[in-house]
């Protein structure tokens, strides 16, 4: 059985609501991730965005919110792909100040994708699908650490 995330830190962040944005066109993948995330932390609010454009709208509406938000961003999506989302966010000055933690997720093992993800200052990390429970856990924990460090 997985242990729940460290109770110590959770106390400090009780007032802060944690939100997870899954931007991906694959409904099964979104379902898997949301089940895992809920399993790890039942309090996390999960938002499903089925393409890059919807994801971008949701993220832009977040600006100046002090919620702790984590984004899992797929690369290959219809309408607006993951790179497009990152570019739009950077163009709108999203990288300075308050911003969500963005993790790029891809089903491709092509190394050029990982290299490209590093060129965006907004990205916190790069994962190749499928994500394991451990991956989700460390993503959610890492964002706790960052938030704790900010305060």
């Amino acid at each position: 059985m997985w242990t729940k995330p460290a109770a110590l830190k959770k106390n400090n962040l009780m007032t802060m609501k944690k939100e997870l944005f899954i931007i991906d066109d694959d409904p099964v993948y979104r379902m898997i991730i949301s089940k895992m995330a809920t399993y790890i932390d039942a309090d996390v609010t999960i938002h499903h965005c089925e393409d890059g454009e919807k994801g971008l709208q949701r993220l832009q509406s977040l600006e100046n919110s002090d919620h702790v938000s984590v984004v899992l961003l797929d690369i290959n999506m219809p309408r607006l792909n993951g790179w497009g989302v990152l570019k739009e966010l950077e163009n709108h000055g999203f990288e300075s100040g308050h911003h969500p933690s963005i993790y790029v997720v891809s089903s491709s093992t092509d190394e050029s994708d990982m290299a490209k993800s590093k060129t965006f200052k907004l990205t916190k990390g790069f994962y190749i699908k499928p994500l394991s429970v451990d991956d989700i856990k460390s993503i959610l924990n890492e964002c706790d650490d960052i938030k704790a460090g900010d305060h």
Binding site: M1, I32, M36, Y39, S108, T109, D110, E111, I128
Partner: protein, 337 residues
């Protein structure tokens, strides 16, 4: 390379064309004094000299020619002797009265002239030796000229000689005639730019005349006499001449090469497409399957047999995942090449 100066002590044969017997005897004395083993032939008029030159088996080394013969004289005489003698240098013998004529004869190919009243053994000897050496030298140059003409004519690459101003074709080698289907005469009526379609002509002319070093960065089109078009690379070099500057130009048919490259590029594109499909499209459903397995395995309440099957499913999925990864790695290595 200039050969060593000849001594001609053994094998010299001299034809003396002289109607005055006294003059001949004097010359004979001088020659015998200076040259050992010399063979002398005496003709006293034009007719017998021509007869001898046309019918004799013997090779003549040098001709001493009196400019005034009973049957013919002057320039006509010289031209007549030239017609039946192509190799032996001619030295003209003359009196003071014909000095101008003798000087003029040098311009039409006579090697030297001697004023009869000034001849002595030493002068005669030196004049003959110098004439023979110059004649050897000229033959040597002519042989080399033939060699260079062969280099041009038998070069397997189509090659042209152009005038530098208008790019008129001055010569075209055999490969050019065979490859392009024009005879030499047809080529001589053409300008090099006529081989190109109208749209290329100005560019080609500019590039050839300005000797643009980027000439070969583009391929040009050449039209053959049968209307077929080929793609060519063009190489050129300017040749500085005393009279007019010329340009030597070679073409290299790259049509086949370009076609092969094009085929390879189409195939590359297909391979890239396959690689992309492997890395994205094929792996996406596999990643989903592996994700579902992750999810199922989180629940510990399954039976042992179910977990065993799940493990087998995961192993198969991982195996397939590795295969896809290998293909992607290989194709990305191929991209870098």
């Amino acid at each position: 390379m200039v050969k060593e100066i000849h001594k001609y002590s053994e094998t010299l044969s001299v034809l003396v064309i002289e109607d005055n017997l006294g003059d001949y005897v004097l010359i004979e004395d001088y020659l015998l004094e200076k040259f050992k083993g010399i063979a002398l032939k005496h003709c006293s008029d034009y007719k017998s000299a021509v007869d001898y030159l046309q019918n004799s088996e013997e090779k003549i080394s040098v001709i001493l020619l009196d400019l005034n013969l009973p049957d013919i004289a002057g320039i006509d005489l010289i031209n007549g002797i030239f017609d039946c003698n192509h190799d032996a240098p001619i030295i003209v013998l003359t009196g003071y009265s014909d000095l101008n004529m003798a000087k003029m004869s040098l311009q039409i190919g006579v090697y030297d002239y001697l004023v009869k009243d000034e001849i002595n053994p030493m002068i005669l000897y030196k004049t003959i030796i110098f004439a023979l050496n110059r004649s050897d030298f000229i033959h040597q140059i002519e042989t080399e000229k033939d060699n260079y003409e062969n280099l041009f004519n038998f070069n397997p690459q189509p090659t042209w000689l152009l005038d530098f101003q208008e790019l008129k074709i001055l010569n075209a080698n055999m490969a050019a005639q065979t490859k392009y289907g024009y005879s030499l005469d047809e080529f001589l009526d053409m300008s090099f730019t006529d081989l190109h379609p109208k749209t290329e002509r100005e560019v080609v002319k500019h590039k050839l005349i300005s000797r643009d070093i980027k000439l070969n960065s583009d391929h040009f089109t050449h039209q053959l006499s049968n209307g077929k078009e080929i793609k060519v690379d063009i190489y050129s070099r300017k040749i500085a001449n005393l009279a007019n500057d010329t340009l030597i130009v070679q073409s290299n048919d790259v049509s086949e090469t370009l076609k092969h490259i094009q085929t390879i590029e189409v195939q590359n594109k297909k391979l890239r497409k396959i690689a992309w499909t492997q890395s994205h499209d094929v792996r996406a459903p596999l990643a989903r399957i592996l994700g579902i397995i992750n999810l199922i395995e989180m629940d510990e309440h399954h039976s042992e047999e179910f977990m065993f099957l799940m493990k087998q499913l995961r192993l198969s999925g991982n195996e397939m995942d590795n295969l896809i990864k290998d293909i992607v790695d290989e194709t990305s290595g191929f991209e870098k090449e």
